[in-house]
C-alpha cells in the first residue's frame, strides 16, 4: 500500500457537487483529484476531492467564489 501523506479533502452532498469542484479546480489550475470518500470522513460511498495540504486556502476561496456546494473540508492522512 502506498505511503500515506496529509491531504486536504473536500466532501460533497451530491455527485454533481463533486463534478463542479473538479471542473472549477481544473479551470483554476488547482492540483488534486477525485477519489472515493475515505471512511475516516464518512462511512458510505461517493467521491471527494483530495488536494495537497497547502491548497486549503485556495480551495476555500474557490468554494466561495464559485458558490460550490460542499459538505466539509478536512485535513486527513491518506
Amino acid at each position: 500500500m502506498r505511503q500515506r501523506t496529509e491531504k486536504c479533502v473536500v466532501t460533497f452532498r451530491t455527485t454533481a457537487g463533486a463534478m463542479a469542484m473538479e471542473a472549477a479546480c481544473k479551470a483554476g489550475g488547482l492540483p488534486g483529484r477525485l477519489i472515493p470518500v475515505p471512511r475516516s470522513v464518512t462511512a458510505g460511498c461517493g467521491l471527494c476531492w483530495a488536494g495537497p495540504p497547502d491548497s486549503r486556502e485556495a480551495l476555500e476561496e474557490l468554494v466561495i467564489k464559485k458558490h460550490l456546494d460542499v459538505d466539509g473540508i478536512y485535513a486527513i492522512i491518506l
Partner: protein, 382 residues
Amino acid sequence: MIYLDNAATTRTKPPAVSRAVLEALSSYGNCGRGGHEGALSAARTIYETREKIAALLGCPRVDHVCFTQNSTQALNIAVSGLLGPGDHVISTDLEHNSVLRPLYRLREAGAAVDFVPADRQGRLDYGGFEALLRPETKAVVCTHASNLTGDTVDIDWVGRFAREHGLLFILDASQTAGVLPIDMAATGVSVVCFTGHKSLMGPQGTGGLCLREGLEIRPFAVGGTGVRSYLETQPAEYPTRLEAGTLNGHGLAGLNAALDFLNETGVDAIHAREDALARRFYGAVRDLPGVTVYGDFSAPVRAPIVTLNIGNFDSAEVSDELAERFDIATRPGAHCAPRLHRALGTEDQGAVRFSWSYFNTEAETDQAAEAVRILAREAEEA
C-alpha cells in the same frame, strides 16, 4: 483499464449496440407520435424490444412489458402502484436501496414492512418468510441476487411461498436479467423489474417492468401517450398506462441489439463464462492472508460478483490503489445495500466489489487477483 465494475454498469457492450443507437439517433421520430416513417421506425423497434424482453423473462404478454429509465423507476412504480397504507410487505436484508427506499417511504405512508434477516455470511433463512407472515401481508419484494455479494435468492421457493399465501411477488432482477434464467410465469412472479445497462448489456436510461396479467397498478406518472388525447386520465391499458411521455427510443434501439446478442450467445453460455471468471478469481484470493471474501461460494448459482476486504484497510483506499497503480476498476464503500453491510459487519469499512461481464478475460481476472495478492502482502507488512 481492466474493468471489473460490471455490477454497476457493463462498460463493454456488443458492438451492434452502439451502431443501433447511432442509427436510431439519425433516423428515428417519436414512437406513437405520427404515422410517418421516422415515428413508425421507432415504434417498430420498441415493439420488437418488448417482444424480446417478454421472451427472455417469461412475461405472458408482450404488451405487459412497460419501459422505464431503469430498475429503480420500475420498482418505484410497482411498489407505489400496488401497495398502500394498511398493507404488510415482506422483504429481505439483501436489498438495494432501490427496493429499500420505496419500502421505507411506503412504511411512512402507513404500511408495515418486515425484513427476512441475513446472517453474518449474508445468507437468508427461508423460514424467516413464514415467520413474518401476517393476515394483512400483501406482497414479497426481493432481489434475485445481492449487488453486494452476488448471492442469489431462490426465486422458485419465494414464488411458491407467494402463491401458497396469495401474495404479490415483486422481483428486483437488476443483477440477473440476462445472466440468469428468469421465467416469471413459471416461477409465479407478479412483477419483474429490470435495468438495461447491466447484464442485459444495453445503454443506460433503459429498463422496465414485466407484469403478470390482471394487475391493477396505479401509474406513478401521467401525461402524454400519443393515444386518447381527450381523455383526462391516463389510459388504463398496458404498456401505455405506465409509459407517460416520450420513451427512450434511441436507448431501446441499443437494448434491442443487445438482446439479439444475448439470444445468439445464450443466457446459459453468458452465465457459465462470467461465473467461471468470478470463481477463478475467488479461488485465487480466498486464502490470501488478510483477505476476507463475503458471500456464499458453496451455492451453485451466483451472480458474477466477488466482494472482499484486505485487513482493516479502508475499502476506498484499496479500490483507489487498484485504480491508480494497477488500472483496475472496482467499486468500494457501501453499495446502496445498508442492511446487508450491517449483517456482514462491513458498515464502517465498506467492501471492494469485483464484478465480471461476458467480455472480461482470464488474463484480466488473473491480473486482478495478482494485484490483490500484492496489496494483501503490503498490508501484512505495513
